[in-house]
Symmetry: C2
Subunit: 131 residues, 2 copies
């Protein structure tokens, strides 16, 4: 049978398990990148982080910290003292991650206007239940 020559696209493709997809396990989380970013300014205690990210729930904070710790992005240091004291800091891997992230954040800072539009459009196009 004639093997029909399918006109192969441009060839570019982001397969299911390519790094570009998998990194979104980090980026999709509402807090992960911001926690890392916060820590890029120096080690912080749990409470400090909580206050540095207004709106974060205790649950999400610890959950996020656990995962980045498990991923080797963050170091966790526990001091055995009366009022518990735990400090988090960026591991080398995390430092590397921050560099391009900072680039993105810089872009954001320089294009607040575009972000406005984005937000607006994101919401408009999202199903939008019209009572």
């Amino acid at each position: 049978m004639s093997t029909t020559k399918v006109p192969r696209d441009s060839g570019f493709m982001l397969r299911e398990n390519c790094p570009q997809r998998r990194i979104h396990y980090i980026l999709n989380g509402k807090w992960t990148s911001m926690v890392l970013y916060a820590l890029s300014h120096g080690a912080m205690r749990t409470g400090q982080l909580e206050r540095a990210l207004p709106g974060i729930s205790k649950k999400m904070l610890t959950q996020t910290l656990r995962s980045v710790e498990g991923g080797g992005l963050v170091e966790r240091k526990v001091f055995n003292v009366v009022p518990p004291r735990v400090e988090y800091s960026l591991a080398p891997l995390g430092e590397k991650f921050i560099e391009p992230l900072r680039g993105l954040y810089d872009w954001a800072a320089s294009n607040a206007a575009a972000l406005d539009e984005l937000e607006r459009n994101m919401q408009e196009n999202t199903d939008s239940r019209l009572d």
Copy 2:
């Protein structure tokens, strides 16, 4: 009354509407960044994009395209021909966005191992309904 000197944290804080938070309107979306990334390799037709991102639903593709278009990140070009032809390409603003994003993706490519851990941890710590 003695104005109790609260020991002001480190001073670092990511307020509710800072750019670093707002850019996550883009990053949180499951497809947005990848669509932009795909387009950074040249203009593409709708169908091409769909195939370049296996697993994306038609709904999400158009929805995503609408929002990035509205945000001025992407240009949409319609050709008035018999079988409709629509081409998307990065707008200058989008090009700028891609640069740091590529940095992140490079990081991902160089640290697949860390991504493994991350994924695992993300899932383990997520409520985890135990039947």
